[in-house]
Amino acid sequence: MIMTSNVQVQGRRRGIDLSWPTFALLTLVLSVLVLLPLFWLAFYSFRSDTGGGVTFDNFIALVADPTLVRAYGLAIGMALAVGLLSCLVATPMAWLVARTDLPGRRMIRMLVTASFVTPPFLGAIAYEILAAPNSGIVNIIYRYLFRLDSSAYLVNIYTFTGLIFAIACFTFPYVFTLVANALDKVPSDLEDASSILGGKAMTTLRKVTIPLVLPAMLAGTLIAILQALTMFGSPAILALPAGFHVITTKIWSLFQFPPRLGLAAAAALPLLIITVILLRAQKSILGRKGYTVLGGKSGTPRITELGPWKWVAIAFVFCVLSLTILLPYLAILKTAFTGTVGDPINLSTLTLRHWKFVLFEFSATQLALRNTFLLGFLTATAVTAIALIVSYLVTRRSVPGSGFLGLLATAPVAIPGIVLGVGLFLSYANPTFQLYGTIWILLIAFMTIELPAGYQQMSSAFSGVHPELEEAGRIMGASRLRTLWDITAPLLRTSVVAAWCFVFVGTIRELSATILLTTANTKLVSVIIYDLNESGDLGAICVLGMILLAASFAVVFVANRVPVLGGSQMNARG
């Protein structure tokens, strides 16, 4: 505040605008955040692990080492399958929610958003509890119902297909949200035109509606593919017991002491390149605006009446929601309160011992909870602030070259978490910086990872606010930052809160970069959950998971209700 009032005074007296210094500072900060890790990554990939010096061995190993090639092959196969499955499930569901008279549509949207809050690694653990071949609850019930012997099982999560399923459960919301939003905006006049020309409902759907939302489907699918490809937690939990590596777990295994940093860096680079290619593909698909009609000027979307099909639709949606939310949450709840996973639920097996262990005996709990929420708050606040200023500078084009800043803020989206983890470790875990072992290296990692999401949200919000209000402020003599603070920011309150929550939740569920950067004093809940999983303490994990979920939901809820933060507006707009 003090700074901004100074700014105002200076701005009036001498007409100096802080845009330039802000621009320069932000460019510097973002460059360091984004470019430094990438530089070290490239540097190390040419460095020999055994003797220092320049070498191509690491890249040769990338092609010649069958374990690395296999890990890449499996990771790509897995990611494509996850993308396909997410798309197949999410698209019909999005259509049902956006364009039919299905009951409880708003509720369904909310629940799908809830599955976004669930960390994928927690989901994977929930599925261990549900669908492990012998102790999985689903298989126990299956054997009981059909009176089969102990070797029979219905589903096995410790397989390639099981892994795909468990990841898709938590990536389909990306496709769902994009497609549902696109369907909301498809103008009804095009569909009307089709009906007037004699097209039946299905013909209209096939020839008009689906082509119009196709870009959103593809874009959502690409995000799902990207998420799956770069995910660490779920494969580490489900693929390793099945006896195979994907690329992220393979890179992690290269950090076993003595670490093979050069090979890890080289192994991370193709992941980076694939990500960039996928993102470019997404951009070129989404960029064809003439194809998608996202104007939203032609009336409310036509609602299809399901008639007798309603029950089929309800069954389908219920099935999807059970698999992605209901069953995993119930499994976590059950495990938190019973002795071991295989126990039936009755009075004698109900116990609070996992709670007692986590809350009173396990010495890492408090520290991890404190670190997690501290970092969540810091990251969310810092990212929202930076994103706000950057998107202001970029959308208002107040400084020449501001487009570059936008590019920098978006660039980290192309850096998978584990790659960034490797890069940051190489950049800051040395005697010069000594950031490794402090929470600052984690803050840097989280800020870098979350910046694109925050920026995306803020810049789309900015384009919705007409500059004339700011111009009024400027005419009255306020500096740019002052108008930003006094006029634009209040107008953007809801978007700011939404972006803040989004980043907060994203930070809390991060594991792939975190796993390489934590030490004893910088433990996070996600990491102790992962540690506990490696020693098989599922009960304790479920307790921690429930605390994490409850706290995340509480923060999101509170942030949306506090009147100062624009809670009432949020409600009015729905």
Binding site: G52, Q256, G342, A364, P431, Y436, A520, E534, S535
Partner: protein, 348 residues
């Protein structure tokens, strides 16, 4: 080899590695009021351990009943993960840990060579420990030992059907039924993989890898998978976790094959750069006290080298089990081979 690999890594820059050559162990020390007072002033001790988290926390709790002024931060991970962590931390100049303990004896030879350990010998160790279970230079001593055992669920497998020898595990009837921990994570399994590859050759593991085994990480985990009923038979895993689960009433039975069962010795040591040196010294002495060792045995099911420790009835005494010992000096150069062979045969 390791030295070379390490110095290649960027870490090496921060390393003041001075391989110490100690003529002999320092004089044994007792817990004096001065030591207690100094430790209380520090108020905290950080314990990096590979013992099962519930056992380690129990021990910490016991320490706190004696010294309520000193909090114990237990950092539990698999032995190889603890090794990775301390390696990364020390090479980047981070000194978090006071006392360290893993079940891979190789680590302590390595730490000693790097000069990372502070030699000290608690009186109890000097008086009661067998000479070959402590470092002659006083850098470390065997805090615990446990076997890596085969075990099965008695309700899912008849005793007659259960394996009797290591080779029995190759029988098709055990396909899909077994669970096994990972040598890249667990020091116990690293040790047992080494001794079994010496005893039975790598062909044994090649065949075992085709049995569709559930691969978990920590050697604390296979017993827990048995308890869950996820698998009927464990190939390796901590004997002490099995003891604990049997005590809880789980239907599990241990198999001690006549060919022998691998033994993992868990050493403990105080680090030279310990941030809380006095608390570390006090805690270290506590670890070897008859009290703590008895607790490890009763609650934890660990084997102890303390001659006064009484084992619970019903546990097979070590003397009646054929033990396969591992020589850390021979194991160390084999580690890369073990890791790569393991990945070849088991996939990860």
């Amino acid at each position: 080899m390791w030295k070379k690999a390490l110095s290649a890594a960027l870490f090496a820059t921060g390393l003041a590695a001075s391989p110490a050559a100690w003529a002999e162990a320092p004089e044994p020390y007792q817990i004096t009021p001065e030591l207690e007072a100094a430790a209380k002033a520090e108020g905290k001790v950080v314990f990096y351990t590979a013992t099962d988290v519930a056992v380690a926390e129990k021990l910490a709790e016991h320490f706190k009943t004696k010294y309520p002024e000193i909090s114990v931060q237990v950092e539990r991970a698999g032995s190889e993960r603890v090794f990775q962590r301390i390696g990364q931390e020390y090479s980047t100049g981070i000194y978090n840990a006071d006392v360290i303990e893993t079940s891979d004896a190789v680590h302590f030879e390595y730490f000693k060579r790097e000069g990372w350990l502070e030699p000290m010998v608690p009186q109890e160790v000097a008086d009661k420990w067998p000479a070959d279970e402590r470092d002659p230079d006083g850098n470390f001593a065997a805090y615990r030992a446990h076997l890596s055992v085969m075990a099965y669920r008695t309700d899912l497998m008849q005793e007659a059907d259960a394996p009797k020898t290591w080779e029995d595990l190759l029988d098709p009837r055990f396909k899909d039924k077994m669970v096994k921990a990972h040598p890249g994570y667990s020091g116990t399994v690293m040790t047992s993989t080494f001794v079994l590859s010496q005893l039975l050759g790598w062909e044994y593991f090649e065949k075992l890898g085709k049995q569709n085994i559930m691969q978990v990480q920590s050697s604390t985990e296979p017993p827990k998978k048995l308890a869950q009923g996820e698998r009927a038979l464990e190939i390796d895993g901590n004997e002490y976790n099995v003891f604990r689960l049997i005590d809880e009433g789980k239907p599990i039975k241990i198999i001690y094959p006549e060919q022998g069962t691998p033994l993992a010795v868990g050493n403990a040591a105080v680090l030279k750069q310990a941030p809380n040196p006095n608390a570390a010294k006090l805690f270290y002495a506590f670890l070897f006290s008859a009290d703590a060792q008895q607790l490890n045995s009763d609650f934890g099911g660990l084997r102890s080298f303390h001659p006064d420790v009484k084992e619970k009835a019903g546990r097979t005494p070590l003397a009646q089990i054929k033990i396969l010992h591992s020589d850390p000096a021979k194991l160390e150069p084999e580690i890369p081979t073990i890791k790569s062979n393991y990945e070849k045969y088991f996939g990860t």
